[in-house]
Every structure is written in structure tokens, then in C-alpha cells.
Amino acid sequence: MSERITNEMFELLPENEKNSEFIAMESKTFLKDAWSRYKKNKLAMVGLAFLAVMVVLSIAVPMLSKYGFESQNIEIKNALPSLEHPFGTDKLGRDIFVRVMYGGRISLAIAFSSAFICLIIGILYGGVAGYVGGKVDMIMMRFVDILDSVPTLLYVILILMIFGNTIPAMLLAICFTSWIGMARQVRQQVRSIKEMEYALAATVIGASHTRILLKHLVVNAIGPIIVNLTTMVPSAIFTESFLSFVGIGLDPSIPSWGKLANDCRDLFFTFPIQIVWVIAAISLTCLSLNFIGDGIGEAFQTKKR
């Protein structure tokens, strides 16, 4: 066959057919897609908005207000809410609004950083256990089981007593076993994803273990991991506030939310309104985090679309 392909054999596409294979839908990345689904969830958006407001207020209010969180004014102690003091004042005449926001700074900072620490430890530990498997996996998981059966209260108190009532000790106490749930979940995910073709494909083209673990397995397990993360933040807020509330948590000079609630306990019967502000702050924050978690969970569930 001596037929050659010449230019005359080609002809221009008519103008109206030029874009016939264009896909009208904008191409979306995984995260963009999830976000567009998240936006449709009203409760989740409300939660996100509340959390954002809370974070901004807790940073800005103590900076901008004319009252410091420690400035006392005995003449106006136990004042009811007014324009001057939106939440009223406490037993030493300190502005409760400023104190609640300042407490939010501490409690939120502790909660987010402990969740972050647990995230890192959980991903590494669970990732390695699930990826390597076999004996290593068994020993690692037995160790986790043992750690898990220690009564929470016990090690929390031990840690706080040994290292003092400081913020780093509190972080250690919260993180000591909180990463376990995350590690178990990551392990589970990694074990199932490991068997998928793309993990095999990555091995075939010579990717290193670290690369497969971090670039392929963890990225594909990200949905449940983020959902787990959003449950970790409120439970950290809870642990910190409850310990400080009972009086074994942070140093009394650090006005975290739990400490504020503890402060109001003496005046519980005479001025119950004072404690309500702190309760509202903690509860609403936890509630919005819960909504955010549900929203993210639904947004990442690609199968159910």
C-alpha cells in the first residue's frame, strides 16, 4: 500500500461543531466539590459562622475593650448586664464579656492545638500500623488497647500533678489518649485502601513507602479523618473546662472557660446569670463544632450523591 496521508485528506470542522465535546460543568477539585456540597447544609454553615465569630471575638475583644480581663472595679461588682458591660460584671467587678472572650482564647487555642497534635500522631501511628501490617500491626494495636484501658481521670491527674498545672501539661494530658481513636480509624482506612489498584500501581512505578503512605493512602482517607478531627476539638474543650471546673486543671490565674465557670460557682445561688454566659459560650461552641462535623461528614461522602 503506497497511500500517503496528505493535507488534502483533512478538512476544517464546521464552526458549529467546534465545541461539541466541551463539558459544560466546571471541572472541580476534590475539595472544591466537597465545599460546594458543604455550603448547601444550613446548620453546618450556621455552625461555621458562629465558630468564626467566636474566634474573631476572642482575639479582638480583649485587645480592643477598655477593660482588661483582670481590671477590677469593686464599686460595680455583680452588676447585671448593661450597655457598659453587656454580660454584667463578676464578684470583683470585672467585665464578664471580656473575661468570657479571653477564656475563649485560651480554651479554643488548647482545643485546636491538641486536636492538631492528635491528628499528626494518629495519622503516623495508624498509618504505619495499617500499612506495615502483620506482627508490627498486632503489637502496635495491643499497645493501644492497653493504653485505652487506663481510666482517663487517673492519667490526666497524674500528668497534671507531675508536670504542674500549666498549658503544656494540659495539652499532654488531653492528647495522651485522644489520638487513639484517630490512629484506629486511619489504620482501618489504610488497610482497606492498601488493597486498591492505585496503591499497587504506585508500588509498581517505584514509589517509596513514605510517599505511598502520605501521598496516596492518607489523602484518600482524608474524609473520615477530618470528621474525627471535628469531634476531637469539642472533646478537648470539654476535658479542659471540666478539669479546670473541678479545680484540678489549669492554674487558677489562667481564666479558661472552665475556670470562669468555677469562679461563678460560689455565686451560683445569688447570681446564677453569671454562670449562664460561660455555659452558653462553651455549649454553643461545641454545638457548632458538632454541626460542622456533620456537614463535613456529609460533604465527603461521595458515594451517597
Binding site: 495491643r142 497524674l158 470539654f238 473546662s241 484540678i248 451560683f268 455549649s283
Partner: protein, 307 residues
């Protein structure tokens, strides 16, 4: 099956051993001693006599070996901060208070949770479902001690319906039990609802209905029996947690139970009492986890315990 139980028990004993070791040396690593808490200067002579009496003058490793030997024989020693009282006696004194409250709260949580769960899974009325959803969302996400505080403000301080603290009258059990059950009720409701919904849409439910079984028995015998599995796995550890007491509830309502004794013993550096209570709590948690796994296997034969 027996082999599996034996294996779990062996692992449990090993866990207890690790737990005892860690807590023992952890306690010793804490600054302060049982005799220095009042900031009173104790004459050196007295201090030495005291330390000799409790065996605290020996090296820590030797103390550890002696303690382990005693525990194996079932002797938990005498409390240091409460003059001459046996640790086991203190447990006997405090345990009933905590356990009574815990069992009441446990029963309430399970019954209430299952009833609400079934109700919201089967109801056709949207508002019933919404009310239950709102309730469970709050119960799951808001820390329990805050809800207890709110309840105290409302019921005891504002309306003066219930006594605030103590356990002197039957009514005074209401608030602590409610406080303990807020979040478990919500969790059990959610678990029951989602699994019952799944089960009710399966083929054997349709079969049971087409046989002409009464709807009540369809739900209870065919639906619930299969749907309660996640509740059982949740209930085991919950029971362990509840009968060992909650520090917050006991602090809030001034209840002299195990949780409070535990915290006090640590701040008093009462080594023997802390160790005794640790062993109690740890053993309960381990045993209850095993029990709930076994019950789950009994309900659902598909679960193989010895995998």
C-alpha cells in the same frame, strides 16, 4: 470460645500489670509525699518512724515488689491518709453509693435511649422526630456538667423543686441520675434509631409482616433483637464507667463516692488508696469490655469472637 475468654483474660491480667507498674512509678514521680501536705514541719525523727511504718523508707523498686506480692495475695494495704483504714474497707464504704447511682443511671439511659430510638425510627410524625433530634444533638455535643449546671439553676435554684446537693431523700437522686444520663441517652437513641431503620427495611421484616405477625412483635422480636447490637457494644464500657462514678457529678452534687475519693487520694499522695482504686477501675473496664463482646456474640451468631 473458652480459649478466647482465656486469651482475653490473660491479656487483661497483663494490662493490669502494666497499669499497676505505670501508676506506681507515676505516683512516686509526683512531687510531695503523704506526710508533707499540711506544710507542717514534721520532726525528722517522726518522719522516719512514719516512713518505716508504711515501708516508704525502702528503695522504690523494693516497695514495688512488695506491693505486687501483696496484690497477688489480695491485700491492698492500709490507707496512708486515713489512719489505719484498710483500702478494701474504704472501697466497701464508698462503692455502694457510687454503684447505686451508677446502676440507676445506667438502667435509665438504656431504657430511655432505646424507647426514644425506637420512637424516632418508627414514627410518622415529623415533629416527634425533630424534637428527639434536637435533644440528642444537644446531649451528644454539649458537655454534661454544663447541662447539669443549667438544670441546677433551673430546677433547684429558680423553681426550688429539687434539693441541690446530697443524697438524703429519694428526690435528690433525680438530678444526679439525669446528669449522668444526658449524653448516654443521646448516644443510645442515635445508635438505636440508625440501626433499627436499617433493619426495618430488610427482607426478613417484610417476611415477618407477611406471615401476619403483629406489628409489635415484628418490631420487638425481629427488628430490635437485630438492631440492638451496636447498643450492646456501647453499653459495656458505659456500665463500667457509670458504676465507677463520675468525678463531675460527684463534685457537683457533693456525693461521697469513688470518683471523689480517687481525686482526693491523689492529691493527698495516699499511694495505697490510689493504687487500690486504680486496680478496681482498670479491672472493671477490662471485664466489662469482655462481657459486652461476649453478649454481642450471643445476640448475633455471625460475630465470631475467636477470629
Amino acid at each position: 470460645m473458652l480459649k478466647y475468654i482465656g486469651k482475653r483474660l490473660l491479656l487483661g491480667i497483663f494490662t493490669m500489670f502494666v497499669l499497676i507498674t505505670v501508676v506506681f512509678f507515676g505516683m512516686k514521680a509526683m512531687p510531695g509525699s503523704p506526710f508533707s501536705r499540711d506544710n507542717k514541719a514534721i520532726p525528722a525523727e517522726t518522719l522516719r518512724a512514719l516512713e518505716e511504718k508504711y515501708g516508704l523508707d525502702k528503695p522504690v523498686t523494693e516497695q514495688y515488689v512488695v506491693y505486687l506480692k501483696n496484690v497477688v495475695r489480695g491485700d491492698f494495704g492500709i490507707s496512708i491518709s486515713k489512719k489505719g483504714q484498710q483500702v478494701s474497707e474504704i472501697i466497701k464504704l464508698r462503692m455502694p453509693v457510687t454503684a447505686k447511682l451508677g446502676i440507676m443511671a445506667f438502667v435509665f439511659s438504656v431504657v430511655m435511649g432505646i424507647v426514644l430510638g425506637v420512637l424516632s425510627a418508627l414514627t410518622k410524625k415529623q415533629w416527634v422526630n425533630s424534637v428527639i433530634t434536637v435533644f440528642t444533638t444537644i446531649g451528644v455535643s454539649v458537655p454534661g456538667f454544663l447541662l447539669s449546671l443549667l438544670m441546677m439553676v433551673l430546677l433547684a435554684v429558680k423553681l426550688k423543686l429539687l434539693p441541690v446537693v446530697g443524697l438524703n431523700t429519694p428526690q435528690s437522686y433525680i438530678m444526679p441520675v439525669l446528669a449522668l444520663s444526658f449524653s448516654p441517652v443521646s448516644s443510645i437513641t442515635r445508635l438505636t434509631r440508625s440501626s433499627l431503620r436499617d433493619v426495618m427495611s430488610s427482607d426478613y421484616i417484610t417476611l415477618a409482616r407477611s406471615k401476619g405477625t403483629k406489628e409489635f412483635w415484628v418490631v420487638v422480636k425481629h427488628g430490635l433483637k437485630n438492631a440492638l447490637l451496636p447498643v450492646v457494644t456501647y453499653a459495656g464500657p458505659l456500665f463500667a464507667g457509670m458504676i465507677t462514678g463520675s468525678l463531675t457529678t460527684e463534685t457537683l452534687f457533693s456525693i461521697p463516692g469513688i470518683g471523689k475519693e480517687f481525686t482526693n487520694s491523689i492529691s493527698n499522695r495516699d499511694y495505697t488508696l490510689t493504687m487500690g482504686l486504680t486496680i478496681l477501675l482498670g479491672a472493671l473496664v477490662i471485664v466489662m469490655a469482655l462481657v459486652s463482646d461476649l453478649v454481642a456474640a450471643m445476640i448475633d451468631p455471625r460475630i465470631k469472637v475467636d477470629k
